[in-house]
Amino acid sequence: MNELQTILADSVNGLLAERVTKNLIQSAEDGVWPEALWSELEANGLTRVLVPEAQGGAGGTWADAAIVLKAAGRHVAPLPLAEAVLAHWLLAEAGIAAPDGVLTVMEGDLTLSAGKLSGTARRVPWGRQAAHGVALVGGNLVLASLDGASVAPDINVAREPRDTLTLKDAAAQSAPVALPENALRLYGALVRACQMAGALDYLAAQTVAYANERTQFGKPIGKFQAIQQQLAVLATQAAATGIAADHACASLKKGDAAFEIAVAKIRADDASSIATSIAHQVHGAIGFTYEHGLHFATRRLWSWRAEFGAGAEWAESLGRETIARGADALWPYVTAR
């Protein structure tokens, strides 16, 4: 991290550590929109970390965005910060001015005709809250007003809103973008991988801390070798995910990073399965209660590992490409990236 990145990391982590209290997360899970926090994030420019300065953004790189996204995951911020970062970036790429208000991203069966967007988007993060949604239709980036959209509310396992939106001739702006057809899924996978890296760091830190506090048989459970070995595994899985996410973000400055993004999402998925299991095992029954906050991270990891393509989905496409390139191309390809 360079000096500016250290400052960014300190400030975003500081802000979220202070604001994202257990009460805030719980009330968000009960359906209350954390308006004050959202306004603060917007005021701090965090949703526009990837927007060029000329367009009113922070002019950051994906490496900078990773810091914000990891923090969002680490502190389990219950609002669409990652989605907004992505949506703002997509809009900037397409040269469409970003509107005020909550922004999200949408995937679904959508058609654009005469400047109006119609169709159904499923599992839209905070669809109920968003004023606008960003979608990719054909080669066009579309910014649609969600004013008249009908909303069928739903949630994921982490009780984050994942709503079905039906749009009929929604007012929309669009512009062609030079992005792959699956860009929304791809970059969605990237932001989730970053969030997962943050959440895994939290799990490791929290679980180590708990093991040092909780006493059984007259000593902290962290003194038992069986627990130590498990915690070592948890920490190494978190570290692997962190660097995989960083690598994907760094690769974007060279252009296409579809390969590295797939790697990051697969790695994050694998790590999540191992790490959530260890974190719960070490926490015992208390970690299985709603009262204890561990599950805010573990439930998110269980959802996020499947969102924007599960590891299995990315692994299949990565594997097909690898096999198609041929056995002897594997090493040259990996080292040329």
Binding site: M1, N13, R74, D201, A204, A205, V208, A211, N212, G222, K223, Q225, I227, Q228, Q229, L231, A232, V233, A235, T236, A238, A239, A240, G242, I243, A244, D246, H247, A250, F259, E260, A262, V263, A264, I266, R267, D270, G311, A312, W314, A315, E316, S317, L318, G319, R320, T322, I323, G326, A327, D328, L330, W331, P332, V334, T335, R337
Partner: protein, 384 residues
């Protein structure tokens, strides 16, 4: 926040590209006729002729000072050469230990005379080392070392047994960890490292030990009143524990700790080129994701070494994750393809699977067991 260990991204400088191409072209010719099952041995395979060629190319001792026969190149140049050798399955075993740890150890703790005498030959690919740490009663508990070096006129008299010593039968020197002083209260004290000339010292018996696959590459080395002169003491008397800890950081930090099964991955893909199917693609995709991530972690360790930092903890992380990856490979291959591994005959895939199925148990033993590495990581996390 977790500060226990840090993996910063480290990008290989563009200047390494030409070097990579050179190494690759050289290996394409050198290894053209070497069967996959032989290449699968990578750094366990030994070929002095190949090592001398490497020396002539300047691909041993790459980062060492020129006055010791080195080439004063960057840690990244060295990393590129190492990973190319491993990925191609080059028989680098003869010079590997000297290049990786014994040479650097001498550079750090050895006398000027020891360096002058030995290092240039290591750099030429002519002088090989083995590691004399483990003993019958001292495996993970390295400080339980019993082999004694008792002070006598002009040197030390060594008695005891080193075990599992890889390559002792071909090596010119061993760096041995011996007990020069016994303090029952403090077993880490009183250990000393020595250079032992295996070719000329009397009183040393080297017996090969066949591994479960029938190959003999590690040994029992018995010392009976073997005389080691004073000028062969490495570093300080009684400072062996600290020195050996530094040496283990070199031993654990390289890309060989995740690439030992790479040849099988290549052969798996070759099989799947014929078969197709979603299941195989998913498996390969997962393995690629782990490979690429481990490579980034390994590069990060190389970057720390280049900056003169001490990546001992990070190296343990990579070695632990790397061994899981290497050991997972034959299991995945078996579950996916269900082809019986073979020995001595059969397709490349079958033979490589036969070799690695039998070899992978050692990957989480040699160089420090999985449990010991995780103990080190747990200490880094503040649990011990």
């Amino acid at each position: 926040m977790m500060q226990a260990f840090r993996f910063d991204l480290c990008e290989l400088p563009d200047e390494t590209r030409g070097l990579r191409a050179d190494v690759r072209a050289f290996l394409a010719t050198e290894l053209a006729k070497v069967p996959a099952v032989t290449r699968a041995q990578t750094w366990s395979g030994s070929d002095p002729e190949f090592s001398r060629k490497m020396g002539a190319k300047g691909w041993i001792a790459m980062t060492w000072p020129k006055k010791y026969g080195g080439h004063e190149r960057s840690a990244f140049d060295r990393y590129v050469v190492l990973e190319e050798l491993l990925a191609a399955g080059a028989p680098v075993g003869a010079h590997w230990i000297g290049d990786r740890q014994s040479g650097p150890l001498l550079m750090r703790f050895g006398t000027e005379e020891q360096r002058q005498k030995i290092l240039p030959r290591v750099a030429k690919g002519e002088c090989y080392f083995c590691i004399g740490m483990s003993e019958p009663d001292s495996g993970s508990d390295l400080a339980a070392t019993r082999t004694r070096a008792d002070k006598v006129e002009g040197g030390y008299k060594v008695n005891g047994t080193k075990l599992w010593t890889s390559g002792a039968h071909t090596a010119h020197y061993m760096i041995g960890l011996f007990r020069t002083h016994l303090d029952p209260q403090n077993k880490h004290a009183g250990l000393t490292q020595f250079l032992v000339d295996l070719k000329t010292t009397e009183g040393i018996t080297i017996r090969p030990i066949r591994d479960l696959a029938g190959k003999a590459h590690f040994n029992e080395v018995v010392f009976q009143d073997a005389f080691v002169p004073d000028d062969m003491l490495v570093g300080t008397e009684g400072g062996g524990w600290n020195q050996v800890t530094a040496e283990l950081a070199f031993e654990r930090s390289g890309p060989e700790r995740y690439l030992s099964s790479f040849i099988l991955m290549v052969e798996m893909i070759r099989e799947l080129e014929k078969r197709g199917g979603a299941e195989g693609a998913r498996e390969i995709g997962r393995l690629v994701a782990h490979l690429v991530t481990l490579r980034q972690m390994s590069l990060s360790v190389a970057g720390m070494l280049d900056k003169g930092e001490n990546p001992a903890l990070e190296a343990s992380v990579v070695k632990d994750l790397g061994a899981i990856f290497e050991q997972d490979m034959p299991v995945r291959a078996h579950e996916l393809l269900g082809i019986e591994p073979t020995v001595g005959a059969g397709s490349d895939y079958e033979q490589v699977l036969g070799y690695l199925t039998q070899t992978t148990p050692s990957f989480s033993l040699r160089g420090g067991t999985r449990e010991i590495l995780r103990g080190i990581i747990a200490r880094g996390l503040g649990l011990r």
